[in-house]
Symmetry: C2
Subunit: 106 residues, 2 copies
């Protein structure tokens, strides 16, 4: 996984909306996706290119149409690498801050 591509791809509301749209109905065409995005088709294409580069979606051409499918794997890897790591220490991390605020460190 290229973490930077995945996070950068997720760091834009339009691209997160695209993922949401595909989650509601997988395999939509570019045109269908654009109906729900308030921007030019060409702009949406650029967002989709980033999502593809991050491997968050895959596309298939069917005739003159381009179908879009979510790939959930990178999201799961984000979870493994970034969420669980901090999650495991959740209580102790908060404890550190609480202790500092209480001035127990003097």
């Amino acid at each position: 996984m290229d973490a930077d591509k995945v996070f950068k791809a997720l760091g834009d509301p339009t691209r997160r909306k695209l993922l949401d749209l595909l989650c509601e109905k997988n395999g939509q065409t570019l045109g269908q996706l654009c109906e729900n995005l308030d921007m030019a088709r060409q702009s949406a294409t650029q967002h989709i290119d980033l999502l593809e580069a991050a491997n968050l979606i895959s596309t298939v051409k069917r005739g003159r149409e381009k179908l879009h499918f979510i790939n959930p794997v990178p999201l799961h890897e984000v979870y493994e690498r970034w969420v669980r790591k901090f999650e495991r220490q959740r209580l102790s991390l908060l404890h550190d801050l609480k202790q500092e605020l209480e001035g127990d460190n003097q």
Copy 2:
């Protein structure tokens, strides 16, 4: 949670490194963090400001020092909102794509 702030904050390798550094040793000062970042202190401060705005870290002043603490809550919310949602449909999503590739849709 302001999802946009959180994702934008995570969308930069320097800021992710800051979180990693704090995960190794919570409560570090600005100076300590900067020793591990190949950039000017003022640049690091700007990154930290974004992490604070996203509520991913909290800071406490102790004398002339500024201590930094991770807040794991937004990361957990990212997980709840973004990972689990797609995770739940993981198998079915891949199935959609496989079916399309095999041409079962004709």
